[in-house]
Symmetry: C2
Subunit: 253 residues, 2 copies
């Protein structure tokens, strides 16, 4: 892990953050390669959507936590768009609702998904860690923890194309969430990155920014680790967690 021994220029800081993404962002995880490559069964895709729902429903909670540390009204009013994106506003149903529709289209019951009962413990722990981090971090560092959005558009494009192409059971409605994110994430991250580059000026602040991104890549990576262990190999599903039904339609390959 990177330990700074001198202050970086804003552009050096950005390069450092990009480097962490190149090394640790979860697009590198074997589970995503399987998911995007059409190598998973319906049951495995269900497990992914079910667990990922916990992350999705946590996003606005995380953003409310961040803004609870923000004394600047203008900043709050800029950042709160993220909350609207996920919780919905006016005509927009929001990302959480889009994710629930994705789950339903995959054959999961809405109430079961929302109960979060069948979810892997590691998924809950990862989301807990992220929310609690944002609750207690200084504003700059809370913002910095969102910078995985720098790397998101690429993975969303891969996912939309890969899932539509490779699975019979995936249609346009099911990728609606990711289509929205293609425009939302770059807009969000432009602001977050600019803010972080401008405000992380001391070595301690820059180190905390870097550590926040390490934390966040770990949050994303650990969720896929847990899915892999339980549902790919060796297939060790923890007690009480979602178990795909045996009559799963196999993935079109």
């Amino acid at each position: 892990m990177i330990k700074l021994n001198k202050v970086l220029s804003p552009d050096e800081l950005e390069q450092t953050l990009q480097g962490i993404g190149a090394e640790r962002y979860h697009n590198l995880h074997p589970f995503h390669k399987l998911l995007h490559g059409g190598k998973l069964s319906l049951g495995q895709v269900q497990a992914w959507a079910l667990n990922r729902y916990v992350y999705q429903q946590g996003i606005p909670i995380k953003d409310y936590a961040i803004l609870s540390n923000c004394p600047d009204k203008e900043l709050r009013n800029l950042w709160r768009q993220r909350i609207f994106d996920h919780d919905g506003i006016d005509q927009d149903e929001g990302g959480i609702e889009r994710w629930l529709k994705l789950c339903e289209a995959l054959g999961l019951e809405r109430a079961y998904v929302q109960s979060m009962e069948g979810v892997l413990p590691a998924t809950k722990h990862a989301v807990d860690t992220y929310i609690n981090f944002c609750r207690h971090a200084p504003l700059l560092i809370g913002f910095a923890s969102c910078l995985t959005e720098l790397f998101a558009p690429k993975i969303h494009k891969e996912r939309i194309a890969g899932m539509l192409e490779n699975y019979d059971f995936v249609d346009e409605t099911m990728v609606a969430y990711f289509r929205e994110r293609l425009t939302q994430a770059p807009r969000d991250v432009d602001f977050a990155l600019r803010y972080v580059k401008e405000h992380a000026r001391t070595i301690d602040q820059q180190q905390a920014v870097i550590d926040a991104l390490y934390m966040k890549t770990g949050v994303l990576w650990a969720q896929l680790d847990a899915l892999y262990l339980a549902y790919v190999s060796p297939g060790m599903i923890p007690p009480g967690c979602f178990t795909p039904v045996q009559t799963d339609v196999a993935a079109a390959q």
Copy 2:
């Protein structure tokens, strides 16, 4: 997962909690079977000790969090013995120090262990979840989250016998932590169980007690899941995490 529809008697509540342990305590996890059965290499045992250190160092933090919710001096003075057990007091070096000695005896560097740098993200998330739970839970529920101690003496006995017998590189010094826990845990849990049985009187309180034990068994289980995935099968070590050296002494089998 158990959802109560009536209030339980104190003894029924205890039986219910015992049932959760019988189904979900991590003595049932394949990783522990390998560990106790002498089936792991030195590198795998190192990975276990290194990651488990994060949990060990978090125990007194968790107990301080619990006691920060306790307005009763007598209760605090009873419970704080747990802090002494791990942080040490007077002539007792405490459990954290004993764990560090275990790590050193396994060939890990103390400073590396204490830095928690090579630790799996899921380990940190699990410990985070546990500490944050105790910080925010009512006192009764914080106490209840410790009730996995009900099931601990059995696993410690298995571990002491299994590790001494099965690994050339394990000696009496290295199991000192577990020997201490054989007397500490039953003393602690007697009090916690009595308190919970006496104070969890409403259906909501009893459900919260049950949910706390589910949460805690998940915290323990997820740590072994992550170890299994990274260091047993399929051996997917997340970026930046501890990697056993190739020249490991193989386990005596």
